[in-house]
Symmetry: C2
Subunit: 318 residues, 2 copies
């Protein structure tokens, strides 16, 4: 019998979960707030109350192979969420063990970016690829690295923090870590907003549609809308963002020589505005043996589904 | 019976080879010039003429499990040397196949930096490690990456070109590739020499022992000697070199989260002059979850032996 899997994506605000078939169909899904619970046990009780009837409606518990979870700072080796800055539960949370006890099902955990990479490998545009990197361009920059068909975890389970690699030494401050010039401080929604403010401030003489927005209303979406209307500064923002991203991708390619880089997340809505400068600067910074070889792709998974699919993928090889 | 292996290290100038026991003893070794032969077949004839009697003296051909080779631009997947800029043989050279035909032994090829990493894993200070990176600091900067106990080759066999990752975008010109600001243009013997010339030129008022040398006599060794005598500019050269190297290592660690970084090659003779600033800047650029975890080691293999040992290690898992 072809069993189903449960996928759980624990995000900073919302936890999404669903019952997934082996071929990647989400039979049913729901969500609960993540940070409404001061103790993790209450969160798990809530999750169980929602999931138990969902499982019953889809073939019962005997038809579930296991639970796969993605979470910020989730560690595959230990099954713990370790010191996640954006979650209420502080310190080390043995969430895989707690969920296993509550549900009686094998439970696996990894970080959310690695779960996204699993989703691409099993259900998405990296299907059948053995070597690729996913980069999530959202509020922050996440990454999942696949080598020889396996997620790279490193000796302690924390590998793949490419958003924190330094691409402009001494550059822009990354507020939550105090580092300077990391990829995330430029190639994220937050970074695009900061670039907008910088360029508008540095060029007070240049007219721009962006000046019609209050500083607080400047987002990567407003920059996109202005760029599509031909606004010069808005276009320059994406050119610069793509330059930083492309230079970083070149460095990653010279590390692991992947077949493809899969881009995912809110910033990819900018389409070619982002893709063209990214590709240009990526190719320009590669050694010739890597040039014109690496596919630069946008994920074709629906963002709402991708996290659940990716998390569920953790248990299929059991 | 415990068989021996043959290790062959094809360098730009010299090819070294030897018969190696499973526990890493080189029973006998010799060398021939690499670039004395216009066609690769003549090189192989020479190699065979030297190796055949060596094999006879050490138990005969039946006692040899295979031939492992390291070479610039050597590709493990294809067994070819592909477009190596420093060798006389141009284009694609099917060297593993040619050697196999000549010797009648299973032959494996990889690039020289990967062979060095194999040597560290089987015979050197990365023994029993599953996750580490070797960085060779010589005329250039080479690298070998090990994840889950395996050399990272990437989808095409060219992974691990960390010397060409960009750490100072728009920075120093790398003459042979035309790139700007790559690690190799700073943290190599050539890079140390360039830093010396830059600092001496930028600070004409500062006295320095280095000014006693003709520009052509300025080498990483002379910089080391002057630094040991307390010369301020010479010390600053190593501080700067260590800063660039340390920042780069931090980026590599956030990619694959290795247990150790093993440094190898001529520049490591500078000892703590290089190690201290490297460690300082490496730690300063890491996310807290990576800090004070990664060992920064100097290789303890003899440089003359390491390449032969590493190449021979390619055939032990057959």
């Amino acid at each position: 019998m072809s069993k189903h899997a449960i996928g759980v994506d624990i995000g900073g605000t919302t936890t999404k979960f669903g019952v997934v078939t082996r071929d990647g169909k989400i039979l049913e899904q729901d969500r609960i707030p993540t940070n409404a619970h001061d103790v993790v046990e209450d969160f798990i009780d809530d999750l169980h109350a929602k999931l138990a009837p969902m499982v019953e409606r889809n073939g019962g518990i005997d038809n579930i192979i296991g639970i796969g979870m993605g979470a910020p700072n989730g560690n595959f080796y230990s099954g713990n969420i370790e010191f996640a800055p954006n979650l209420k539960w502080k310190g080390i949370i043995p969430i895989a063990e707690l969920i296993h006890k509550k549900f009686g099902l094998t439970t696996r955990l990894t970080n959310d970016a690695n779960a996204a990479a699993m989703g691409e490998m099993i259900y998405g545009c990296a299907k059948n690829m053995k070597h690729f990197i996913t980069i999530t361009l959202g509020t922050g920059v996440g990454s999942g690295i696949v080598i020889d068909g396996k997620i790279v975890l490193g000796h302690d389970g924390f590998a793949g923090e490419l958003g924190h690699t330094i691409i402009r030494p001494g550059g822009r401050l990354h507020k939550s870590t105090g580092s300077h010039g990391c990829l995330e401080s430029y190639a994220s929604a937050t970074g695009v907003r900061e670039t907008a403010i910088e360029l508008l401030t540095e060029h007070p003489e240049t007219e721009s549609l962006l000046r019609n927005y209050a500083i607080n209303a400047l987002t990567s979406e407003t920059v996109y809308e202005c760029a599509m209307q031909g606004d010069a500064i808005a276009n320059r923002i994406f050119e610069f963002t793509g330059q930083i991203l492309g230079e970083s991708l070149a460095n990653f390619i010279m590390f692991s020589s992947p077949e493809a880089i899969v881009l995912f997340g809110g910033l990819t809505k900018a389409g070619n505005l982002l893709l063209n400068p990214t590709r240009k600067h990526m190719e320009a910074n590669l050694l010739p043996i890597f040039q014109n070889k690496v596919k630069l792709l946008f994920s074709d998974l629906k963002e709402a589904d991708a996290a659940i699919l990716g998390a569920s993928a953790l248990v299929w090889d059991m």
